[in-house]
């Protein structure tokens, strides 16, 4: 049966006219397809170039535009955050070694008995030494503003010297 089927199938051929006309159609289809591919590639290249320019602009433009940062010096007392005060050459940083914070009220720890009260540059200072760490801290009022000075200083004199410089700087500002 298989041989008979193969023999019969072998007699069947694609008509030559059909083959020739198909080849012609295929040639036309190839030309059309190739031009479509070229158009598509151009479009993709254009879109890719635009996307690349956009990406580059997103990266470069922020560096070119002028900065909006405030160039004014940050002075102690202007905010509750820490910040080094810009100094002239030769001058000591007012709060160097000190961690100054402006407060609304005295912290509870300065109401205790172990607090020492001293007068420094006409300013009353509540002085305290941390029992665990040995570091000095102080609370003081300058021009109706309460300041808390924390430090990693175990030397009392050095701490007071720093406080003096800070008090001078606040008085000069005002």
């Amino acid at each position: 049966m298989q041989e008979e089927y193969q023999r019969e199938m072998n007699k069947l051929h694609a008509p030559q006219q059909l083959v020739d006309s198909t080849k012609e159609l295929v040639k036309q289809e190839e030309k059309k397809y190739k031009s479509d591919v070229v158009v598509m590639k151009k479009r993709v290249a254009t879109i890719g170039a635009i996307a690349a320019c956009f990406l580059i602009a997103c990266i470069v433009v922020p560096f070119i535009l002028p900065s909006n940062e405030n160039n004014e010096s940050v002075y102690l007392g202007d905010s509750n955050t820490l910040g080094p005060v810009p100094i002239e050459k030769g001058e000591e940083t007012p709060n160097e070694g000190l961690d100054i914070t402006e407060l609304v009220d005295y912290p509870a720890e300065f109401s205790e008995h172990q607090v020492e009260e001293i007068l420094l540059k006409d300013t009353t200072i509540k002085l305290k030494k941390d029992e665990k760490t040995g570091y000095y801290k102080a609370c003081l009022i300058i021009k109706d503003n309460i300041f808390f000075a924390d430090s990693k200083l175990k030397d009392r004199e050095l701490f007071l010297d720093k406080l003096e410089v800070f008090i001078d700087s606040k008085n000069e500002d005002n």
Binding site: M1, Q6, A14, T22, V26, E29
Partner: protein, 166 residues
């Protein structure tokens, strides 16, 4: 062993596989006109896909699969669902002997194969004529090997029955 890739263009594919595609299409649709249409459609589709095909064997398998798919689309077409060819209409062939001259003088085996349901015809043609293995046929038609085997078995049984009657 590297497989050869001598088919670079659709024209090369036509030169090499025209008869194969035509025979398969004709087996499916059973008439020359539709087989001609399917033949052209298959090679026109090849224009857009030939660059994806890796070697000659790949081209051959692709052509067979697309020929089968185009033939199935042909059957799903509204015209073909609602029109019966004179050759297929048993009432006409029974009642009108003078129409017999329009029918081709065909070998009983090929006639029997033509009478098989479409899914069996494909498998019979690919197995007995193109001499593909069960595995290859399964891969081409996206069927399990067991399904191909059972359909081939059923087709053989039907052919035996038809040929016995003749």
């Amino acid at each position: 062993m590297d497989k050869e890739y001598t088919i670079k263009t659709p024209e090369d594919a036509i030169d090499r596989y025209a008869d194969m595609v035509y025979r398969l299409a004709f087996t499916q649709v059973k008439n020359q006109t539709d087989a001609d249409d399917i033949f052209q459609e298959v090679f026109l589709r090849l224009v857009k896909h030939i660059h994806k095909l890796k070697n000659d064997e790949h081209v051959k398998a692709w052509l067979i699969r697309v020929t089968i798919n185009c033939s199935k689309k042909h059957f799903d077409n509204y015209w073909n669902k609602n029109v019966v060819s004179i050759e297929d209409d048993s009432t006409l062939s029974d009642e009108s002997e003078e129409l017999s001259y329009m029918l081709h003088e065909e070998n009983p085996v090929t006639l029997a194969v033509k009478k098989l349901p479409e899914k069996y015809r494909v498998i019979v043609h690919l197995f007995y004529y193109e001499e593909f293995s069960i595995t290859e046929i399964g891969n081409m038609l996206k069927m399990k090997e067991s399904t191909v085997k059972s359909q081939l078995f059923r087709a053989r049984e039907m052919l035996k029955g038809m040929l016995k009657e003749d």
